[in-house]
Amino acid sequence: MPRVAIVGAGMTKFVRRAQETAKELAWEAASMALESCEMTLDDIDCVVLGSAPDAFDAVHMKSEYLSDGAGAWGKPYIRCYVGGGTGVFAVIQGWYHVASGVFDTCLVVCEEKMSSCMPHPQGAFLTIFDHTTERPLGPNLLWIFALEMNAYMTRYGLRKEDIAYVTVKNRRNAADHPCALLGDPNITVQDVLNSEVLAWPVQRLDVSPISDGAVAIVLAAEHVARRVTNKPVWIEGVGWALDTAYWTNRDLSYPVYVEEAARMAYKMAGIKEPRKEIHIVEPYDPFDYKELHHLEGLLLADRGKAPEDAARGRFDRDKESEPDWLPSSPSGGLLGVGNPIAAAGLMKVAEIFWQLRGEAGKRQVPGNPKRGLAQAWGDLMQVGTVVILGI
């Protein structure tokens, strides 16, 4: 099986982009990624697109609409989707395109434009629920995540302020990200606890902001990667798992699907002790508790202990002295950079790529990390997607 490397990445600013069409956002990220590794579309054998529901843009067969913006004119081109897990899954799909030996290079583009959904994309999210058993109740994403957060807090007796620290950490990290929507070096836990209650225990600052944006990366087989760059970042393991659609019948306090996905990726990467062998992590953080939930699912924290770990600074970007230090969401995550769904997931993979190459600028994690993990999550609290990168 050919080894597959990431050789280039590009990212637009995450913010409301009313001036640009979705196609233009995809084009901007794709051309930045190609320029970063001095390649052109002629060097690209195939294209993979990630984008979440068509309902945001009200465009049927959205991948066809986005095709030329994503650089897919005249090329083999497939769009994947697994809800919020799409951004990291798109890398997995790009990986199997190249690892199959059928293609040498693959451009992976993730785009999301949520601002065109008026008055708010929550309206589009109404249509993700079961048409018979759930939709008549008029559910809202904030409600179901409030249920999950409540289950998590109640099961382990967690303190809201420990969880709120994740928002503080990520928004402070994001202050150093040039593409970030909500970077804030001065935010405090008290700010989060004082913010408006949306659906208890979820408050406004526990939630990542909707936004528009696109991210792209370039994948290459080993023989091409070595020619293109002297700093290839290898895809060492991938994993994904989808749990039952009947989310109401599940224990919401632990993301078992993330564990399944992580075990698959660890096995492929030959990782036996993830806490020692993973140096940086970008877990999916659309809500502050989700980052902690996912760190537990990834086996990088004990069950119910991640909030304590966070509060003592174990996941901070620069607390090298902390026991079991593991910088988490050094980019600023979705809470700080923004959450244009599929693009946000791919942003996490791009961040690990930049960190491992030592190109993360002010966000650079000290200690020359050698291996990192990016994870995303989505659907009805149902899917885990994991990519492990190494140099």
Binding site: H60, G74, P76, I128, A241, L242, Y246, V383
Partner: protein, 383 residues
């Protein structure tokens, strides 16, 4: 690229214009159960990855991939959805097996078209929201314009298109899974009401419901599990431009590129002689002819003449759409391409009943995503 990939199980359900008594989940469950039974596998133990093909607007549910794992036996396993024709899903499974990390991968696609009140309203949402949608034309106008340009540039006649309808619906009379079998004359087709001139109503395939599940396996596993594995010799897919304003209206370049990739993988130099028959997208009658030419099965302008001469009929030298195609079996939305593949599998196994092509050894299936797209996928199968 040494790893071989075969189809070792096929299951189906529905294949009727309406299936009011079952949900899409029940259709999927029935198709999956049959496919696993045929392949002799337990999905929970033996399948390493599942690929499903669907579009949110066709389903009426956003992030539709949420609702696929349970009825496929895929809970807590690697499952993902792609947007495309069913053959794009087959390609995704093919690539996964080629990596060497997966031995058995399942592909699913279905149609519950009868739940859609007005399909043309959905298609209108597929047009460019800024440049095309405000003009508020019926999406079939795209097909009408393309047909007119195709006829003008190739010299193909309208009657030759009508003959495609007569041939395919006649073939469907021999196919128990076909929703729209009929004995029609080309004159009947030409006399039917015009929808987007020159396109008439009988030249447009009507929808059907159904689900298809296929089990794919790597070479050694396929040989161990199946007496009649059907090998994927080559597969290819491609997009052309989405812009209505700048596409080559007479040609299906996406089909040419998809076929080129598939032929290269399969090592095919002369498709018309190395392939015995084909199942080709015929969403609109002229599309069968345009696609035949784009796939390199004949020269531009030749497909209509070959149809007229009976070359592509069931008894002809190169049967096209022995199943009845989309016109005869019904268009199954995202599953249409897999329906084409399913017929190729049946023919190659010698299980096609009264429509069996004698000594069929190599077959081609081609699927198109429909208007207004320029996206298609081709696969070459052999015994």
């Amino acid at each position: 690229m040494s790893k071989e990939v075969a189809i070792i199980g096929v299951g189906y359900a529905g294949f009727r214009p309406l299936t009011p008594e079952v949900s899409y989940k029940e259709l999927m469950f029935e198709a999956a159960t049959k496919a696993y039974e045929e392949a002799g596998i337990n999905p929970r133990k033996d399948v390493q990855s599942f690929v499903t093909v669907s579009e949110d607007f066709n389903e009426g549910t956003s992030i539709f991939d949420e609702y696929v794992p349970d009825q496929l036996g895929g809970v807590l396993k690697p499952v993902h959805t792609v947007c495309g024709d069913g053959i794009h899903g087959l390609a995704a499974a093919f690539l996964q097996i080629k990596t060497g990390q997966f031995d058995i991968v399942v592909v699913e696609s279905h149609s519950k078209a009868s739940n859609i009140l007005y399909h043309s309203h959905l298609l209108a949402f597929a047009l460019d929201p800024i440049f095309n949608r405000p003009l508020a034309f019926h999406p079939y106008a795209v097909a009408g314009m393309e047909m007119r340009r195709y006829l003008a540039e190739t010299g193909t006649t309208h009657k030759q298109c009508a003959m495609v309808v007569a041939k395919n619906r006649q073939n469907a009379l021999l196919n128990p899974l076909a929703s729209y079998p009929a004995k029609l004359t080309p004159e009947d087709v030409l006399a039917s009401e015009p929808i987007a001139e020159p396109l008439t109503s009988l030249e447009i395939s009507r929808h059907a419901d159904g689900a298809i599940v296929m089990v794919l396996a790597s070479g050694e596993v396929a040989r161990a599990l199946s007496d009649k594995p059907i090998w994927i010799r080559g597969i290819g897919w491609a997009n052309d431009t989405f812009w209505l304003e700048s596409r080559p209206w007479a040609r299906a370049d996406y089909a040419t590129k998809a076929a080129k990739m598939a032929y290269e993988i399969a090592g095919i130099r002369n498709p018309r002689h190395e392939i015995d028959f084909a199942e080709i997208d015929d969403t609109f009658a002229y599309k069968e002819l345009q696609h035949m030419e784009a796939l390199g099965l004949c020269a531009p302008g030749e497909a209509g003449i070959l149809t007229e001469e009976g070359y592509t009929s069931l008894e002809g030298e190169f049967p096209v759409n022995p199943s009845g195609g989309n016109l005869g079996m019904g268009h199954m939305l995202d599953a249409s391409g897999l329906a084409r593949v399913m017929e190729v599998v049946f023919q190659l196994r010698g299980e096609a009943g009264k429509r069996q092509i004698p000594d069929a050894q190599v077959g081609l299936a081609f699927g198109w995503r429909g208007i207004p797209t320029t996206s298609g996928a081709a696969v070459i199968l052999s015994i």
